[in-house]
Symmetry: C2
Subunit: 275 residues, 2 copies
């Protein structure tokens, strides 16, 4: 028997993947949590029917949401990750030797436990002594921690259910205040093909708060349309002005110091969303 | 009733699209030719079950396969397009005012006729007086035309059936010889996620013939994995050394003069295919 999982990414388009095995399927207090093993992309985390991360291409999303901001900040020591219960962003953050503390704020503890069990490549670094895991609401966390972090990474799910607030102007304002004077925010802001209004709204909200606001892109085949946007707000440093220093032992599979700049070079139809 | 068309892009992954209407379905001497109207991407040409071009995102492929080479050549006058029966490449080539002649060499005349009827936005320029349409084998055409073209664009289908020869070292050698002394070849070379061996082989074959060989990428949601590669071989000019001059009336939706360079900035895993 051939079993296929189809994520309807819009009303009229979807990605369909051949499934070797359904490893976990449960309802948590927040969402339906599924771990699938797929032929094309290996094991993946699926929340409410939407692919969150897959072993086969997770390196792209996790490297690109993390390293652009981390290499833009002159000396990132304290980092907060909102969402990101799979641990992939934490793994990438810890590659930066300046980091003293990473606080992972994930609202659904079952996501963390499931990823520890089934996606160990992604979740492995969650036991690092520099990591503090807090199973709580990220919106409240940033409200209660002013001037506390150098870098804030919003690794949210799609803007439905519990994650709607993670795309609101109020939340971005609280993030702004939880950051130090040279702090940097980076958020995943969905597909430039399917979520143009969201990109416009996020850009408007973040650029109202941060003097430097920039959008960049990465190609992620398991995400809707295959092209993904990130919006970065910075209080001081401009990601386009910094020259990341390549360190040989710093292994990446997608990010390069040249792509650090090239990823901000947007197709015209994306540029035109931001004017 | 909901009707969905699914292209199995690999054994384990596919794109599925809601279909409003099947406008044409026939068997030509070369392939199964279908025109669908889809909810997400509008009308599309599907050959042997594989999406070739869709009104909703065709601008990306057609602009990117065309303008990088055309802006790299100092004065492209004569251009040959191998394949490309939908007319999208011809439309983009004709935006360059130096062009005196475009020869479209498409093996399947029914593709051209179907696109004229159902995809007029794409095929419209085929009646331009600078266009010569030849319904014949592109492999034979380039063999028989030495020193004839400034730019050759290989807009082929996937490397199955009639198109296998369009990825062979012998074909690239014939293209080399059909080009003038400062000629440029560009070929679509499939997905860096799903067709890594093909990219390696094409790069090796083209770089054995052309002193300047470079690979660049574009994000195309209806193509397998959403990320697409192009390989450019040039006898003289380097696409990274030229500075395309933006002309206000030259309208594009994806290509920009900055992307002309940034598209060559490859993710590390793609870079590593080429060493």
């Amino acid at each position: 028997m051939d079993l296929w999982f189809t994520e309807k990414q819009t009303h009229g388009a979807g990605l369909t993947l051949k499934v070797r095995e359904t490893l976990l399927r449960e309802r948590t207090p927040f969402q339906e949590l599924v771990i699938l093993d797929t032929e094309q992309y290996g094991r993946m985390l699926v929340l409410d029917g939407m692919i969150q991360t897959a072993v086969g291409d997770e390196f792209i999303y996790h490297e690109m949401i993390t390293h652009v901001a981390m290499f833009t900040h002159p000396r990132p020591r304290r980092v907060v990750v909102i969402g990101g219960g799979d641990g992939g962003v934490v793994r990438e953050v810890l590659k930066h030797p300046t980091v003293e503390k990473v606080v992972l704020v994930e609202i659904d503890g079952r996501v963390i436990e499931a990823c520890r069990t089934y996606l160990p490549e992604i979740a492995a670094c969650l036991d690092d002594p520099r990591v503090e895991i807090r199973v709580e609401d990220g919106i409240r966390h940033v409200k209660e921690h002013q001037d506390a972090y150098d870098v804030a990474i919003v690794d949210s799910t799609e803007p439905v259910g519990a994650a709607v607030g993670l795309f609101s102007p109020n939340f971005y304002a609280d993030i702004h205040d939880c950051l130090t004077d040279d702090g940097i925010l980076v958020a995943q802001t969905e597909s430039p093909f399917y979520n143009q209004d969201l990109i416009k709204r996020s850009y408007a909200a973040i650029s109202a708060l941060f003097p430097v606001t920039r959008v960049y892109l990465a190609a992620i085949p398991t995400y809707p349309s295959g092209l993904w946007s990130f919006t970065l707000g910075s209080k001081q440093e401009d990601p386009l002005e910094v020259e990341p220093q390549p360190v040989p032992e710093f292994r990446t599979r997608y990010y390069t110091t040249k792509l650090h700049h090239a990823a901000f070079c947007l197709p015209r139809f994306v540029q035109e969303l931001l004017v």
